[in-house]
């Protein structure tokens, strides 16, 4: 496996993603955890870029970094009163750890046994984004799911307002 800039980039992004994830679950300071989440999300955006899905990358940054993590951070700051509590891990953490480990083993096994090894890769057609846009708006494509998603978002919006208001 030769070291190429792409590999390096991938390594950096993967480290961002995984390290950030680790920070999220391991850090006691919730705000830091949130910041780590941002980091991890950035890494993932980078991975999208490497996967030649720049659209998704941009959306990732816009939605997650720009919106969701901001929300999360604000929530943390608003509910800061309990941040004195040092105990961040509950009693069942061993179970969690075991479950996680087993999952990792299973997934890793399946991945390595099934998807390892090089394979011929076709190029991404240049007009992917245009086609995606068309597909979202055409009834042969994903019009209905698209509408459903928008309804979902509307419902979430209203629901959030109703739940969170005094």
């Amino acid at each position: 496996m030769t070291i190429t800039p792409v590999t390096i980039a991938f390594a950096i992004m993967a480290i961002f993603a995984l390290g950030g994830g680790l920070g999220v679950v391991a850090n006691r300071n919730l705000v830091h955890a949130a910041l780590f989440l941002v980091l991890s999300l950035f890494g993932i955006a980078g991975l999208f870029v490497l996967l030649e899905a720049p659209f998704l990358a941009a959306v990732q940054v816009l939605v997650y970094v720009g919106a969701i993590s901001v929300l999360i951070t604000i929530t943390i700051m608003v509910t800061r009163r309990i941040m004195g509590i040092t105990e961040t891990i509950n009693r069942q953490w061993p179970v969690a750890a075991i479950a996680a480990a087993l999952t990792l083993v299973t997934l890793g096994f399946v991945i390595l046994s099934q998807f390892s090894g090089q394979m011929p890769v076709a190029d991404v057609p240049p007009d992917t984004i245009a086609r995606m846009g068309a597909a979202f708006a055409s009834h042969q494509g994903y019009m209905l799911p698209f509408e459903v998603a928008s309804v979902l978002l509307l419902a979430a919006l209203i629901g959030a307002i109703v739940v969170a208001r005094d």
């Binding site: 069942q92 179970v95 969690a96 479950a99 087993l102 999952t103 299973t106 096994f109 399946v110």
Partner: protein, 761 residues
């Protein structure tokens, strides 16, 4: 002009619409405006006036049609398909005869509706108090609040007669709708439907004041009794009529008037022997048999001789009911039926010796006319008099049809409906006045026996001053009834019948003439007793009635009672004949038949005879009852004249008692002894009880099984599950993450299984 260019479809649609509004009013009132008297009045009156307008439109259109007789306004649809060819059709038909119906039915109906809104707006009657004196809900508020004890030991109190006014309006609405349905029907079935609805309404309305009783007169029939009696009696006729209809349908395969009555093939076909293999009945043709059956229906509906007893008792209903059902419309329906069926009745009539139904009609009609007239002379109750007079007049018409005087019968049907309705409403107005008088007098401290009868003519007298409008209109009606020459409608129609009778059946003529004499007499008697002289009771002293809703219809009908006759003046009648365009009515209605009935040459004899008879009858009545009017407490001078016959007449030849003896009692006995005790109690109940006991025994055995085995098992299961739940509920820790952990592990297991199944093997 509107009617000239009215398209046939439009016209047929209008005809369809005629019966709708009153029926609609019925439903609207019962469903929505029941609680509100004013609204109900408006709905009902509005509906009937709408109907009247439509009817008038149709009527005018029909009159403008050149050949209404040949091609009438007709429309029908297949209602109940039977097989491919045949089936019951529903349809409307307006031919000249129907047009006549459309002329007087909506007219009188509308008048009576308006009248009812006034008549039902006040008044009260005695009712029995069950339990607590101050009524339970079923009796509601009583006007005076006093409770009396009558001779039969019943607690009685006054009851507000206006309580169910809305319901009343609804019922008469339904009734009017049914009558109009019958009038525009183009087939026997539809006619029969209207016929039966009217029967029902008559039942409902006669018994309308269903909680009314007559204190101190336990023998007197109550509204409930009267209604049952009327219903039952008419049923008898209806059953035979239905038989006739069924026979007709089975023979011809249709019930449509046009198809049967106006096509010679069918009529000829009907002219075959009914019972070919019974020599005794051989001469009777199918048409005759059916005709007789249908005529029996008429006997029931129009209260002809054997089945006449219900009509006088029907007077227990509110007076508008009497006016509408028992004068203008329903009883006329019977006559309308035989007129309508005239071609069938006269199958095989060569103009000289009558067919079987015609004979029956002639005999029964003529007899009834005289017989009822005799009874009418001796009645005390103002409405009873009118009732019997109605019977006798209907007898006239029946007899007229019997002798083949088709047009005359239709003519008299129309005029009689108008002036008899007028008379009834007049009598109602009188009764109202007297009841008011009674109340006023009561307030002024006069004490009345609880059995004071506001309908008894001997409690009246001298009302001429009190209620002039009623008096005048009543007079006009009375003169019309007794056939006062030239200026009343009754004269022309009755005269035509008599002329026909004179020409064909002299005997019938003399019978009817006698009846006419009596008619004139009792009319005068009635007027005399009611209006002339001095008041005989404080009630009459204080009597008053000035309600325009009741007076307006009187006036309107009075006008018609005078002028309605001029449409049918014989063209050879001096002066008037030409003046009035020569017997339009005869030409118009005559065109209904295939062969125009022949016009009799004008003959002075019957005219003069009938005039003389009418005038003499009036004169006698005038002499007896008006020249020296009765004093209070004085008995009927006629009683002295006739002696025992008077009592016989007063008791209506004891017909009620006779029927009670030969029909009612045996029926009661049979019902009680045989049906109730033997069949019901003995056989049916016995069997049922046996079955019941058997199953009871089985059930107990079953119960044990249930308790010990089924319940044991069931409860066991339930308890087991309950315990299980108790021990397992702690799984529900309420900790989301715990659940999630379990989920994760479960999924993990599944994943492991899949991984093993897919990749490891």
């Amino acid at each position: 002009m509107l009617f000239m260019n009215m398209s046939p479809q439009m016209l047929q649609l209008l005809v369809w619409l005629i019966p709708i509004p009153p029926i609609a009013a019925f439903f609207i009132i019962l469903l929505f405006t029941r609680g509100n008297k004013l609204a109900s009045d408006l709905v009902a009156v509005g509906a009937i006036l709408l109907t009247w307008v439509i009817a008038v439109l149709v009527l005018i259109a029909a009159l403008l049609m050149p050949h209404l007789g040949e091609e009438p306004i007709q429309a029908s649809f297949l209602w109940l398909p039977l097989g491919e060819a045949s089936g019951f059709r529903m349809g409307t038909l307006v031919d000249p005869l129907g047009a006549v119906m459309l002329f007087f039915v909506p007219l009188t109906a509308s008048m009576i509706f308006i009248y009812s809104t006034g008549y039902m707006a006040s008044g009260s009657y005695w009712t029995e108090v069950k339990g607590e004196a101050h009524g339970t809900e079923s009796h509601g508020s009583d006007e005076h609040g006093e409770v009396a004890i009558d001779s039969a030991g019943r607690k009685v109190t006054r009851f507000d007669a206006t309580r169910w006014k809305a319901r009343f309006m609804a019922f008469i609405g339904l009734f009017a709708g049914a009558m109009l349905l019958l009038s525009v029907a183009d087939n026997l079935l539809m006619l029969f439907i209207g016929w039966e609805i009217m029967g029902l309404c008559s039942y409902l309305l006669i018994g309308f004041w269903h909680n009314r009783i007559y204190p101190n007169q336990p023998k007197r029939i109550t509204p409930v009794g009267a209604s049952i009696k009327a219903f039952m009696t008419t049923r008898v006729g209806d059953v035979f009529m239905l038989l006739g209809i069924a026979w007709l349908y089975s023979f011809t395969g249709t019930l449509s008037f046009r198809d049967i009555l106006y096509n010679p093939e069918v009529l000829n076909a009907l002219n075959t022997p009914a019972f070919p293999n019974i020599p005794a009945l051989y001469p009777m043709s199918v048409a005759e048999a059916i005709g007789v059956l249908l005529f029996i229906g008429t006997i029931g509906k129009s209260a002809q001789f054997p089945l006449h007893t219900w009509l006088p008792d029907a007077m227990e209903g509110p007076t508008p009911v009497s006016a509408m059902i028992h004068a203008a419309t329903m009883v006329s329906a019977g006559v309308y039926l035989i007129i309508r069926m005239f071609p069938l009745m006269t199958v095989g009539w060569d103009g000289h010796h009558l067919t079987l139904p015609m004979q029956a009609m002639t005999v029964i009609g003529a007899f009834t006319a005289l017989f009822a007239a005799t009874i009418a002379t001796a009645q005390r109750d103002i409405k009873k008099v009118l009732a019997y007079s109605t019977i006798s007049q209907l007898g006239y018409m029946v007899a007229a049809v019997g002798i083949g005087a088709y047009v005359a019968a239709a003519f008299h049907l129309m005029t009689h409906a108008i002036f008899k309705a007028l008379l009834f409403m007049g009598s109602g107005s009188v009764i109202h006045a007297v009841e008011h008088g009674e109340e006023h007098a009561h307030h002024h401290g006069h004490h009345f026996p609880v059995d004071f009868d506001a309908q008894d003519m001997f409690n009246m007298g001298g009302l001429w001053k009190k209620i002039p409008v009623t008096a005048w209109t009543f007079l006009i009606g009375g003169l019309a009834l007794s056939g006062f020459p030239l200026v009343t409608a009754g004269f022309w129609s009755k005269d035509e019948i008599l002329a026909d009778a004179w020409a064909h059946q002299p005997i019938v003529f003399w019978v009817l003439a006698a009846a006419a004499f009596l008619t004139a007499f009792y009319t005068m008697r009635q007027i005399g007793l009611t209006f002339a002289g001095q008041p005989r009771t404080p009630a009459a002293e204080e009597a008053t009635q000035r309600d325009w809703r009741m007076n307006l219809p009187l006036v309107v009908l009075a006008v018609f009672a005078i002028f309605a006759g001029y449409v049918g003046v014989h063209e050879e009648f001096p002066v008037l004949g030409h003046l009035l365009g020569g017997n339009f009515f005869h030409r118009f209605v005559g065109s209904t038949l295939l062969v125009e009935p022949e016009k009799l040459p004008f003959d002075w004899t019957p005219v003069l005879l009938s005039v003389g008879i009418a005038l003499s009858g009036l004169l006698v009545g005038w002499l007896v009852y008006i020249v020296k009017p009765l004093k209070a407490g004085q008995s009927d001078p006629l009683a002295r004249l006739l002696g025992p016959i008077y009592t016989l007449l007063e008791n209506k030849y004891y017909f009620d008692e006779l029927y009670d003896l030969i029909f009612v009692r045996p029926a009661r006995w049979f019902a009680e002894k045989i049906v109730y005790l033997l069949l019901d109690r003995g056989v049916i109940d016995g069997f049922l009880h046996f079955v019941a006991r058997t199953f009871e025994w089985l059930a107990f055995r079953n119960k044990d099984f249930d308790t010990y085995i089924v319940n044991g098992a069931g409860d066991g299961v339930a308890e087991g599950i309950g315990n299980l739940g108790d021990s397992f509920k702690y799984v529900q820790s309420g900790r989301v993450q715990q659940y999630l952990a379990v989920v994760a592990l479960g999924v993990l297991m599944l994943a492991g299984v899949f991984a093993w199944a897919l990749f490891l093997r």
